[in-house]
């Protein structure tokens, strides 16, 4: 069967089991779009901005575990996905992004819509390819999917010059069955000796903590992680990226750790004597001041990426491997020994943790006559019974969502944790809804973030994606304002959003339902109504307390044990 480059692309994507591609046409990909038109197996989603395509594909990937796929044109089409690539790269999300490139003869001539996307994207992709011949196209696509989805996942970009997709040039199509890369062989199972060493440390711990990150989600290690937690009975804390990999409603779960994590999780980190890190990368937002990080702990670190181990924090027992497999090996190893931590010691440790728990560090004023953003998330949690897919943008609303929505399953909490990309939430929610049309999908956002990719409301209309948008509208770029309050004597430099659009009318203009509420009494009814409208996108513009801060907080340069609690807490606790 002889196919053109454009046809080879779709035949290859089909071989990879791709359902959707998120894209936007342009000159360099016209041949590809013509091939797209002539097939009906892969559904193309026309976004309104290429950045939206990249975040939608990313959201799809985070929710499904399958690689998200984008297709954009050369030049500005390609540069517009760079933010999406960097977002996915920081959070290790598998994506394959296809960019058109100018005709091979014109590369390097400053041709119309030419840019060196290989050079531009290099630092923010796992790998990229400039396809140099038609014969290379199918093998390159095979390699791209392989690289994106194995080892530590990440985005891979394929740049295809226009002449390689011309309809008149055809070659026999054979999709490679396997891929062999002598330079790329990610490890899978952990080193057994190291696994035993880890168990030896864990069973003699007096004040242990299990700390998991996004790797537990990406590595599909939820079940093993939960079993290990239960088997040992140790306190478990998770990062912003890991939430859901261990059930948040489990008694052993002591909440998120890090800058806006719980008091008990951070204090437990500070006092622990053995720390088991599972698919986490000791990010600065998690560790706080490194000099005072876990000063008493022996550290065991499981990660698929050797470069993540001992990058920021010295590790006593490194285990390189797929977290799911390593945890399985650990469970097997644990089953072979009767040795467990001294029950008295462990009980004393839990007693201490419960004292910290009683501080109730997330407490907020429930009697306020303004809508508290925390309450919005709590109500949404109740209404959706904790089963929704929740995406967020970046800022205070993101932290409130992470603190108050108790995720019990992995892949339900979808946010840009590493890069912190405002504008991520709406297109990501759209991507999730495409994958799970029958599930509740909510986008928790703010009036600042939502305007960064607001145009995707049109995409939601076109493809009937009835997501629910909860816009926590406080009129400020809240997290910026909070830092300015704490560190710049409340000089609110450009953190006030003047001239906001009428979000209700805006939602309606795009063909959706818009509802504004400003009274706590209306909150529950409005959220119930929004989620009851199964076939409509509902934009809830929720006017919240303008100067609420996210507490507790580890400020810059401070350690886990130096958390700033809400100064007004005595008034409502």
């Amino acid at each position: 069967m002889e196919l053109s480059g454009g046809e080879i692309l779709f035949a290859s994507l089909k071989e990879e089991g791709v359902e959707f591609i998120f894209g936007y046409p342009g000159g360099a990909v016209l041949h590809i779009y013509d091939a797209l038109y002539k097939q009906d197996e892969i559904k193309h989603i026309l976004v309104r901005h290429e950045q939206g395509a990249s975040h939608a594909a990313d959201g799809y990937a985070r929710a499904t575990g399958k690689p998200g796929v984008c297709l954009v044109t050369s030049g500005p089409g390609a540069t517009n996905v760079v933010t999406g690539l960097a977002t996915a790269h920081m959070d290790s999300i598998p994506m394959v992004v296809i960019t058109g490139q100018v005709h091979q003869d014109m590369i390097g001539t400053d041709a119309f819509q030419e840019c060196d996307i290989i050079g531009i994207s290099r630092p923010c992709v796992k790998h990229n390819f400039l396809v140099s011949s038609l014969e290379d196209l199918a093998p390159t696509i095979k390699k791209a999917f392989h690289i994106a989805t194995t080892g530590r996942p990440g985005p891979v970009l394929i740049d295809i010059p226009k002449n390689l997709t011309a309809p008149e040039v055809r070659i026999p199509f054979v999709y490679p069955k396997e891929v062999e890369l002598r330079s790329y062989n990610p490890v899978t199972g952990g080193h057994l000796g190291q696994v035993r060493k880890a168990i030896d440390q864990l069973v003699i711990a007096k004040r242990p903590v299990i700390y998991f990150g996004g790797g537990a989600v990406q590595g599909e290690a939820s079940e093993q992680l939960t079993r290990l937690g239960h088997e040992l009975g140790y306190p478990v804390t998770g990062t912003l990226m890991g939430l859901g990999a261990y059930p948040s409603t489990d008694d052993l779960f002591i909440g998120m750790l890090g800058m806006h994590g719980t008091y008990e999780a951070n204090m437990a980190m500070h006092e622990c004597d053995v720390l088991l890190a599972v698919g986490a990368r000791f990010d600065d937002r998690v560790t706080g001041q490194l000099k005072t990080f876990c000063p008493h702990a022996r550290v065991i670190h499981i990660d698929i990426d050797p470069a993540s181990i001992a990058k920021n924090v010295a590790v006593d027992v490194p285990i390189v491997g797929d977290v799911g497999r390593v945890l399985t090996e650990m469970l097997a190893c644990l089953a072979e020994t009767n040795q467990r931590a001294e029950s008295d010691e462990l009980a004393a440790w839990w007693q201490q943790i419960n004292v910290w728990r009683d501080v109730d560090s997330y407490a907020y004023d429930r009697k306020s006559d303004t809508i508290k953003p925390q309450r919005v998330i709590e109500v949404m949690y109740e209404v959706t019974k904790g089963e929704a897919y929740v995406t967020s943008d970046v800022g205070q609303h993101q932290m409130f969502a992470a603190q108050f929505y108790k995720f019990d399953k992995p892949r339900r909490w979808i946010n840009s944790g590493g890069l912190g990309t405002m504008g991520f939430g709406l297109p990501a929610a759209f991507g999730v809804k495409m994958a799970f049309p029958d599930s509740d999908v909510a986008c928790v956002t703010g009036e600042g973030s939502i305007q960064m990719c607001i145009q995707e409301l049109a995409t939601c209309k076109q493809y009937n994606a009835p997501i629910k948008i909860l816009n926590l509208n406080n009129g400020y770029l809240g997290m910026v304002r909070q830092w300015q309050e704490f560190n710049y004597e409340s000089r609110y430099s450009s953190s006030y959003v003047d001239a906001l659009p009428d979000f209700v009318k805006l939602a309606e203009a795009y063909g959706h339902v818009g509802i504004q509420i400003d009274k706590p009494a209306d909150l529950e009814g409005a959220i119930r109504e929004a989620f009851a409208q199964k076939d409509r996108l509902v934009f809830l513009d929720i006017l919240t307390d303008t100067e609420e801060n996210v507490y507790p907080m580890i400020e810059a340069g401070k350690g886990h044990h130096e958390m700033r609690l809400n100064p007004k807490r005595s008034e409502f606790i």
Partner: protein, 163 residues
């Protein structure tokens, strides 16, 4: 401390820029970098001389290994090894200095590879420190131009870096 890192990398377009880009984006030092294809034309061998504290060097080797096109990475500094660098120096050679430069080149086992009435080009190979020593011996006033290849190296003994 100074480290000499040997890298075996797929001989593909853009492979060098991936390595160079990694060093610049993560703020690693490059004192010198050499690269050329090996006896196997599909592979290039790269030698990077870098410096930094031990934990940074560990990150450098790990991050370099993470690049998809990198086949193998070895920190030569960990074992006995040989490094060599090639230098061409154009020197002023008039009057008494003509004989003196010739003598110095002999002492350093250099070769004069170009001669004019007023200049020599001297070729010298050796450890980087030897080349430094030659330059200071002839003195700044005599030097017209210097070009150095950067160091290349390999481990001593039977151990070899290949696929």
């Amino acid at each position: 401390m100074r480290h000499t890192i040997s890298i075996l990398i797929e001989n593909e377009a853009g492979a060098l820029s991936r390595v160079a880009g990694l060093y610049s984006s993560r703020g690693y030092n490059i004192e010198s970098l050499t690269v050329a294809p090996t006896d196997d034309a599909s592979l290039s061998r790269m030698t990077i001389v870098t410096s930094g504290p031990e934990h940074v060097i560990e990150q450098i080797t790990k991050q370099t290994n993470k690049l998809i096109e990198v086949v193998k990475v070895v920190d030569l500094t960990d074992t006995a090894h040989v490094t060599r660098e090639l230098m061409l120096v154009k020197l002023q050679a008039v009057g008494a200095a003509r004989e003196e430069v010739k003598r110095l080149a002999d002492i350093f086992r250099g070769k004069i590879v170009d001669v004019t009435e007023s200049s020599y080009v001297v070729e010298i190979t050796g450890e980087c420190t030897k080349l430094d020593a030659f330059l200071s011996a002839v003195g700044q006033s005599q030097i017209l131009e210097v070009v150095r290849s950067g160091a290349t190296g390999m481990a001593r003994g039977e151990k070899s870096l290949k696929v």
